[in-house]
């Protein structure tokens, strides 16, 4: 009988072989693949005798959200609580960026630039565009700051808190190189620290500078990778953030070391309660909005995140899939790349058959941005309908009225992390 080792399973042995052949760590895209405590480990209780539900299709259940009304004179008013996360032009093709803008705009929500600057295509097709200020500052310029609808100071990313970025040479096309002030074709590194501030006191001054440059009009988001969430959120609020974006370890990346993706940071399920606790203790919950990301896939995930206290969710990997990444349509080509539809994660190599994570003009041309935008819009619509359905079942006339009391956990771990009772009990571990 063949008995596979739980410790040295086939994937582990294959990785040992790969490392022994190459002498370098594995780099890939996407997020953590290991099984983690997640929203699947939570259930909604729904209404019954003790709770009064809303009629599933006809009664009003609102989904809008205001982001950034703490200090900014022009806060964002989004129609749905699902936004598109920052993904760079460079990591993604120009048609993919355009499609994200089209899809988000169709639903009245925002999209976000990424580590590489703002392209005219995404600005043109994004009704609400958030402009990231990253450690690399690639493409950073004050005209785009003023053109943006909000500014997101990126401190960390869920896939790699404490790590910088990379974009391998095969994706540094002439256009990408020009935007980033780099030579074409080189393996580009993005710094892990900002070049002109270190620590929360400096961050406060940096945020003030951004507000001064934009005449206090733009909301300032601060994005952190989920790790020491309680303290990081408190410091972001102290530094003057209008919005905190919290990215769990399931959050995607276009190119990172596997060891980073799988071994650094904490799941979003564990991070949200820390963030909410931090905001509540400061009296800033709902005043500084909380956007969460990292493994958001469905309206159920959105509803559960909102019930735990988030104001909105953000999607990255899911949006890429909605555009057509990993589609069976390209099964043969995935096979030629040594992978399969549903498994493809070599987004750093720039050979994406779906034309999304590539700078190859021929491949990129496969993605019709209008069609991609419609797919994303449909997907967002479905997510929102799902979230509304669940909210109505819990008797809520607005999705943000969902609350921890609506939830139970299927596992002790999830109960402890989410701070909701284990199903069938009144037990919250640690309480």
């Amino acid at each position: 009988m063949l008995r596979e080792s739980a410790t040295f399973d086939r994937a582990t042995i294959a990785e040992i072989h790969r490392a022994a052949q190459t002498g370098i760590y594995d780099i890939r895209g996407a997020g953590a693949k290991r099984r983690l405590p997640h929203f699947d480990d939570l259930l909604f209780l729904g209404a019954s005798v003790s709770r009064y539900p809303l009629e599933g299709y006809r009664e009003r259940c609102d989904t809008d959200v205001v982001l950034g009304d703490r200090f900014a004179s022009e806060p964002l008013h989004l129609k749905i609580p699902v936004t598109i996360a920052g993904m760079s032009f460079g990591a993604l093709s120009a048609p993919a960026k355009e499609a994200l803008g089209r899809g988000a705009s169709a639903l009245g929500t925002s999209t976000t630039t990424g580590d590489g600057g703002m392209t005219p295509e995404e600005r043109l097709h994004s009704e609400t565009l958030i402009y990231q200020l990253l450690p690399s500052r690639y493409g950073m310029n004050p005209d785009d700051l003023r053109r943006a609808d909000a500014i997101e100071v990126v401190i960390g990313q869920g896939a790699k808190p404490g790590g910088g970025g990379m974009l391998l040479g095969q994706k540094i096309s002439d256009r990408v190189a020009e935007m980033r002030d780099l030579p074409p074709g080189i393996d580009q590194r993005s710094a892990c620290r900002h070049p002109d501030w270190t620590g929360p006191d400096d961050l406060e001054i940096k945020i003030e500078e951004l507000r001064e440059i934009t005449d206090w009009r733009k909301p300032i988001f601060v994005k952190i990778g989920a790790s020491r969430t309680y303290y990081d959120v408190a410091l972001a609020v102290k530094a003057g953030a209008d919005v905190v974006v919290l990215d769990g370890m399931q959050g995607g990346t276009a190119a990172s070391q596997e060891v980073f993706i799988e071994h650094v940071g904490i799941p979003i399920l564990a991070a949200i309660p820390h963030a909410v606790e931090s905001l509540q203790e400061l009296g800033m919950h709902r005043k500084v909005q909380l956007i969460v990301s990292g493994g958001i896939r469905s309206g159920a995930d959105v509803a559960k995140a909102l019930a735990l206290g988030a104001d909105a969710c953000s999607i990255g990997v899911a949006a890429i899939h909605a555009l057509g990444d990993n589609s069976p349509e390209y099964a043969e080509e995935y096979e030629q790349l040594g992978t399969a539809a549903g498994f493809y994660d070599d987004w750093h190599e720039g050979r994406d058959p779906a034309g999304i994570s590539t700078q190859d003009d021929e491949l990129a041309a496969r993605l019709d941005p209008e069609l991609g935008g419609r797919r994303l819009a449909n997907y967002l619509r479905a997510m929102v309908l799902e979230a509304q359905t669940l909210a109505r079942a819990c008797g809520k006339s607005h999705v943000r009225n969902l609350e921890p009391e609506d939830l139970v956990a299927l596992t002790i771990e999830a109960a402890a992390m989410a701070r909701v009772p284990l199903a069938g009990t009144s037990w919250i571990p640690g309480r």
């Binding site: 690399s136 700051l145 002030d181 400096d202 001064e212």
Partner: protein
Amino acid sequence: MATVLGIEEIDLATTTRRELNARLHQATGGRWRILHPNGGHAVAVGLNAPLDVDIEGHVGYYCAGMNQHATVRVHGNAGVGVAENLMSGTVVVDGHASQSAGATGRGGLLAIKGDASARTGISMKGIDIVVRGSIGHMGAFMAQKGALLVCGDAGEALGDSIYEARLYVRGAVESLGADCVEKEVRDEHRAEIAALLDRAGIADVPAAEFRRYGSARRLYHFHVDNAY
């Protein structure tokens, strides 16, 4: 606020920084004089017109940050990140500058008449920086484009992880960072050095006394030395 001999004067002892920057953002030109900056942060940031601005005293963080087109002169010392992400125009600091001077700048000229601290020109992307004195450690870290000219000495790890920026140092270099090497000074470099000195108004330093440093380009691709 007052106009004296055609110069708009704004006294930060009686005017808020918000009022100052808002007025400068609305202006399309002219001469401006800012009094009593008192080490304040984000003074004269985000300017976007050919203004001529004199700041009479010391400034805090990010003075003249993201400047476009304007000329800003600081008649004092400057705090962290002076002229950060400079796009165009000129920023002159009469005194010394703190760390990260000219960080990520994409164009224009930053001239510092005194010394500059750590990380001068970090991630510079096309800015030209001239320092009359010396600079601290990690100067031109991950510098991508543009030129950094130092008339004095440079601290340790100069040019660490440098891309295509050009570094010129007249004095001693404590150490070079990863992938930064000394390179031959050819005629075109001597011409660039002379031009940088001229733009910074430095007439008493010979262009011939500088050495040149740049990227060995060994970090441009991830190497796998033991692959088979």
